[in-house]
């Protein structure tokens, strides 16, 4: 498969602060990579470097085989970028703005009109086609920013927190849009604070911490590190008052396994076909003081929290 992005030993320093250190990355057509990390971890710096907004101190970025530093125009031709703050001209109408963006990427005449109409439809902007950008709501501004990044059908799409300011419905549309673009062969990197969004959408995640790669791989975590769970079993967290031993809970019929956690809770895996309702009923009937019963955080959340030394707690 064609390699869209290849990053080797990418580093960037701001004064004494190392914003990004020794990042290696490659993406192929159709890949979706989620960029995770707390504020200040280096996500935006990473995307700015990949978009050519910043130059690296060390390392090499190749987009569709073009070196971003040595052949920036050829590399940027393949690039669509939505920065953290959408680059909008408040005095322009949406249609004029998108035409301008398309011209900047070399689109002309019929190709320009077709591209503008396509992204307006794709991003759900028909209702604001003739509105001034300065009069749009935050969600619409975000969508316009996304539209300008999609206009020239780029091979690599870089989105810096694209879900920011979107309501749940719009977030769902955004995820569908990213999936559609990936199916058309576009490689996508997007940063987000929403772990569920990344888990559902991405084929790979990159977790950054103070500019360093903390984890890179599948969102389910590296093979062997995730707790072994029987297929189709339900994972739960439970807190009992007074506390009980895991062995006592493991003896219950619906429970396949039980383990104690550091915070006094217990992680339970149920046998396939049994439900949390059955378990809760049984706990009450058997006289366990059930104080809390909730779902187990997903693999990515566990991976993220453990990576930052946060104790594994139920939400």
């Amino acid at each position: 498969m064609e390699r869209v992005l290849e990053v080797k030993a990418l580093s960037r320093q701001f004064g004494a602060r190392q914003a990004l250190r020794d990042l290696h990355l490659h993406l192929e057509r159709g890949d979706i990579l989620g960029l995770l990390g707390p504020n200040g971890a280096g996500k935006t710096t990473c995307l700015q470097l990949l978009a050519g907004q910043l130059a690296p101190d060390q390392g090499c970025i190749r987009i569709c085989g073009h070196d971003l530093l040595r052949a920036p125009r050829a590399a940027k031709q393949q690039l669509g970028y939505l920065p953290e703050r959408p680059p909008l001209y408040p005095d322009l109408h949406l249609h004029d703005y998108l035409c301008y963006c398309a011209r900047l990427h070399g689109l002309r005449a019929a190709a320009l009109r077709a591209a503008v109409d396509e992204v307006i439809a794709e991003c759900g902007l028909e209702s604001v086609r003739q509105r001034l950008l300065g009069h749009l709501s935050k969600g619409y501004r975000q969508r316009v920013g996304l539209a300008q990044a999609l206009l020239h059908n780029p091979a690599l799409l870089l989105l810096d927190e694209p879900g920011d300011g979107l309501d749940p419905l719009q977030s769902q549309e955004l995820r569908a849009l990213i999936r559609r673009r990936a199916e058309r062969g576009c490689a996508v990197i997007f940063s987000s604070h929403r772990l569920d969004e990344v888990q559902h959408l991405c084929k790979a995640v990159l977790i950054l911490r103070e500019g360093q790669t903390l984890y890179q791989g599948a969102p389910q975590g590296p093979a062997g590190t995730a707790p072994a769970t029987p297929a189709a079993s339900v994972a739960l967290r439970v807190r009992l008052v007074p506390p009980s031993r895991p062995a006592a809970l493991a003896a219950l019929e619906p429970v396949a396994s039980a383990e104690a956690l550091d915070d006094g809770r217990m992680r339970l895996h149920l046998h396939p076909g049994t439900s949390p309702a059955q378990l809760s009923r049984m706990l009450v009937e058997r006289g366990f003081g059930l104080a809390e019963l909730g779902p187990e955080p997903n693999d990515l959340e566990r991976l993220f929290l453990s990576g930052f030394g946060v104790r594994d707690r139920a939400a």
Binding site: Q53, R103, L104, H105
Partner: protein
């Protein structure tokens, strides 16, 4: 590609109220200067005016009118230049251009051309006043007006280049404007070093824009003056281009 940027930027400037407000204020000030110059000649029959008086009228009209316009251009060009570049950095819009397949030189020249178009409208104002006078039958030397308009526009292009260079130094439009004013004032008084007790150098004389504009205002279009405006504009644009090209490393 730079035409795409120039067209967009000039349209953006013309679509905002600021430019029209500035043009209106300039028209008002120049109109007042125009009437002040003409006042002594009001009511005099043009047939009875001697050649000497006609020449004096033309020279005074051009000197006063275009001299005042040059000060207005000095005040306005840095304002517009900082709006085109510093404001884009401050508001995050520059990312759109930086992510597009453009060279920094394309971006810079596009913005400079936009300023050139806008300043042409301003520089045409005194010429329009002279033309209106000529249409009313006054013996106005239109060749002299044309030469002065060209000189004023070239001066505007230089000021725009200085403004863009200053804007490339700061993402704060206010700071960029102040830097540009500082540079332009320096270029205005650099030939007065002898008054500050320093030894006057020919280079300082040459660097000052006043004497180069002067030749245009008396109707002499000299290659050396054209060269001055072209060279200095190109120099400041080159400095600004370096700033833009090095920006990702900062």
């Amino acid at each position: 590609m730079l035409w795409v940027i120039a067209r967009r930027e000039s349209l953006t400037l013309f679509q905002t109220g600021l430019l029209w407000l500035l043009l209106a204020a300039c028209a008002l000030i120049l109109g007042w200067v125009f009437l002040t110059v003409l006042d002594p000649f009001v009511g005099v029959d043009s047939d009875r005016l001697e050649t000497l008086s006609i020449n004096a009228l033309n020279l005074r009209l051009v000197r006063e009118l275009f001299g005042a316009a040059s000060v207005l251009v000095l005040l306005i060009a840095p304002l517009l230049a900082s709006r085109l570049l510093s404001s884009e950095w401050r508001d995050g819009r520059y990312a759109l251009l930086a992510a597009a397949p453009l060279r920094p030189l394309d971006i810079l020249l596009g913005k400079w051309l936009a300023l050139a178009l806008v300043l042409l409208a301003l520089c045409a104002l005194p010429g329009c006043l002279c033309l209106a006078l000529a249409l009313l039958g006054a013996p106005v030397d239109l060749g002299l007006c044309l030469s002065a308009t060209l000189g004023l526009w070239l001066l505007g292009l230089l000021f725009a280049a200085v403004g863009l260079f200053a804007a490339s130094l700061s993402a704060q439009p206010g700071a960029a404007t102040v830097i540009a004013y500082g540079l332009l004032i320096l270029l205005s008084v650099i030939n007065r070093t002898d008054t500050a007790g320093m030894q006057a150098l020919e280079l300082f004389d040459w660097l000052s824009w006043g004497q180069h504009l002067f030749w245009f205002l008396i109707g002499a279009v000299r290659l050396s003056d054209l060269g001055y405006f072209v060279l200095l504009s190109a120099g400041f644009l080159a400095l600004a281009e370096r700033r833009l090209a090095n920006r990702p490393y900062q």
